[in-house]
Amino acid sequence: MIQHLTILLAFQLLGEAISRAAGLPLPGPVLGMALLFLALLGVPRLAAIASTAQGLLAHLSLLFVPAGVGVVGQLDRLGNDGVGLALAILGSTAIAIIAGVYTFLAVARVLDR
């Protein structure tokens, strides 16, 4: 468990360092994910961290709670635009989900043919 966490943190650290040094538009953890993925391809033995990774990902929702609480205090920032922004988010999230899922299915269907 500690070993697994060390591996995850090491890749995050590597990601942060590279992202910062190269001025990439990606946050360190996302780059760390890509690097760990490449490392897994090269060193399949690393997949032993799967148990810890699954444990973390099963409760991914929990990790957004502190940021969410911060947002509640900022809701007045929406000001007069609150209703318009809420409509935009609801509408565009639904549109993006539907557009994305149907595009995926359509291309997958063409390729399967």
Binding site: V30, L56, L63, P66, V71, L85, G100, T103, L105
Partner: protein, 241 residues
């Protein structure tokens, strides 16, 4: 005997209290989610956040004090994001076969998210300078904030819009897919990750492991795509009016 107020003052200064309360609030949210028969509207994040907001208000606790405890939970977002590489790796053959559908869905989903958000907000009378902060709302928070800074919007407003988008996607995703009778968990997960980043990905993992893996890829790829095209698209989108 020590006064209750003294104990409170002692506890409220350390991180233990708010860390524990955060976990309890999430435990209650998760329990309610399960008790409801896993209804998407009973979102554990939303419930926990609402509970904590009430507790902080009632006890007169500042967010800064709260975050001293909650930061330990918040910190784990980093390693959890890195951990998304594992489901990517275990679903490798499935992912390899889905590269083209993913790329197409990425471009269409990310484009639809940005364009429709600005068009709807503008039609609803949202001020033009606020529109800029709305453009990257489907992207994971640290990237979205960076994009908004580059566009000249308000980063703190973007942070709010990003979280609200994530919770919205987590709530409406599953009902939409079920209503449309879409059973392909690759497509479902990927669309969720592109439209509603980490919170949508967390929700996808609750539904299905494959959906979660694809959502994680969708989130990562959209962070990259939006960071690259938002600076080109946003001035045109917002300036088109």
């Amino acid at each position: 005997m020590t006064d209750v107020a003294d104990i409170w003052i002692y506890l409220s200064q350390g991180p233990l209290l708010w860390l524990t309360v955060t976990l309890i609030a999430y435990g209650i949210g998760d329990w309610a989610f399960r008790a409801s028969g896993r209804k998407p509207i009973v979102n554990p994040v939303l419930l926990a956040v609402a509970l904590l907001a009430v507790v902080l208000t009632v006890t007169g606790t500042s967010y800064q004090t709260y975050f001293e405890g909650a930061q330990f939970v918040h910190f784990m977002l980093g390693p959890a994001t890195v951990a998304l590489a594992v489901p990517l790796y275990t679903n490798l053959s499935l992912i390899r076969r889905s590269l083209l559908p993913m790329l197409a869905a990425l471009v269409v989903g990310a484009g639809a998210a940005m364009v429709s958000a600005v068009v709807i907000a503008r039609a609803a009378g949202v001020a033009p300078d606020t529109l800029l902060s709305l453009v990257p709302k489907s992207v994971t928070a640290p990237v979205a904030i960076g994009i908004t800074e580059a566009l000249g919007g308000q980063p703190s407003l973007t942070a709010v819009l990003v979280i609200v988008t994530g919770v919205t996607g987590a709530i409406i995703g599953t009902p939409i897919f079920n209503a449309l009778r879409i059973t392909d968990y690759r497509a479902r997960g990927f669309a969720m990750g592109v439209a509603s980043h980490g919170i949508g990905t967390a929700r996808a993992f609750q539904v299905n492991e494959t959906a979660g893996a694809f959502a994680g890829i969708g989130m990562g790829l959209n962070a990259l795509l939006t960071a690259l095209i938002a600076p080109l698209l946003a001035p045109w989108l917002v300036g088109a009016y």
